[in-house]
Point group: C2
Chain length 216, copies 2
Amino acid sequence: MKGESIMPNPAFFNLSEDKRNLVISVALEEFSTANYDTASINQICKKSSVAKGSFYQYFADKLDLYVYIMTLAIEKKIAFFSNILDEFETLTLLEQIHLLFIKGIEFAKVYPQHAALGEQFSKESNATAKQAVIKEGEKQSETLFIQMIDHAKIKGEIDGDVDTLALSMMLQSLNKTVNEYIQNKFGDISYKHFDEGASKLVHSLLDIIFNGIKKR
Amino acid sequence: MKGESIMPNPAFFNLSEDKRNLVISVALEEFSTANYDTASINQICKKSSVAKGSFYQYFADKLDLYVYIMTLAIEKKIAFFSNILDEFETLTLLEQIHLLFIKGIEFAKVYPQHAALGEQFSKESNATAKQAVIKEGEKQSETLFIQMIDHAKIKGEIDGDVDTLALSMMLQSLNKTVNEYIQNKFGDISYKHFDEGASKLVHSLLDIIFNGIKKR
DNA sequence: ATCGAATGTGACCACCTAGTCACATTAATT
DNA sequence: AATTAATGTGACTAGGTGGTCACATTCGAT
């Protein structure tokens, strides 16, 4: 937890901002379209007009770059979500979850590249790369859901007999699925019906979770 | 849909059954531990004591082998599930889904390698490989869920206002998540509490879906 | 203007990959 | 036994990978 983890070598930060951003942007594109092993340092160097030797003066190795890019993306996502946590206290669980889901979809709309990177990461099969990123501080959104559920139980919003872990798992699973779905459905097509389609889907899902499907 | 897709070259089927099974087993292991691009034909040849030249007399290329292995795995899974569809008529939707989920978990227990291959495939980022397998006839379990839901609506088991697509999506998502969870949780550890743990989880999830979480 | 440190560079290394092919070996047929 | 067909084999090609390093260039301070 010390401040020793600025990850890239200082030389990287001595670069002009433009150059730095170019490298980051190119690396982001590479890692969001290919998995860790398939992503190519050579390609990143070519596309950002950086000599191989220079690159290795900025980053210790491939993993160093990957962790750095992932960290930036995670920071961006956290920043994007940070403001909604303030108003959380005033909302019901239903509203909280709805907000989280919609905000996630919006994030993918505003930063499609970052969203794609996240999806790629969740499918990453290189254990070393995955491990390194998680160690560097991936926020466990699981604990957030659990807190929300416990809170809602105390407030009497939901049935106290509900299996908290199962519900938390369910919400995580759905969140991921919804994002994948939206990305695949509206990723290339126009954004015309983006919002309404997404909102309707989330509404339907939450309706099922809160009211159940049994005929009453 | 003609019978022209026996995929490997006839020479492969002229091999002794032992040799054939060895190749299949080694390839299964390779593709279930590495993604398509990372998986190595060289390794498969070495581990199954087949010369490179021989291998390419059996299979046209890497994709040919991959599609063949995936097809075998899919067939195995279909066979594993085939008997339960008979008794489906007599069951309620809750029982049907429960059975499907538990059967899926059992499949992973009996054929862990095949289950791992399936998980690997769902994470596959090589579009060509994914496409080729899907074209070769991946069963859309989505349609099965939709049929089940529609049927349950007609029988009056569940609320007719429920969003069928959303519910189907939800079931697919949960099915996948449960399998991943079980595999990661009990994959290496003892099978002591496997069944009860799995059953309890599925029960909790279905309880949420059918009854909702709202306090009543 | 001179020196020294920091940085840019691309040829190069060792190692991997998928796929090929001329040749050796074996099996089957005449 | 001789001929032909089928099959086994591994060196080889062309191309990729991550990473290194001796050298060229630039920059900053004396």
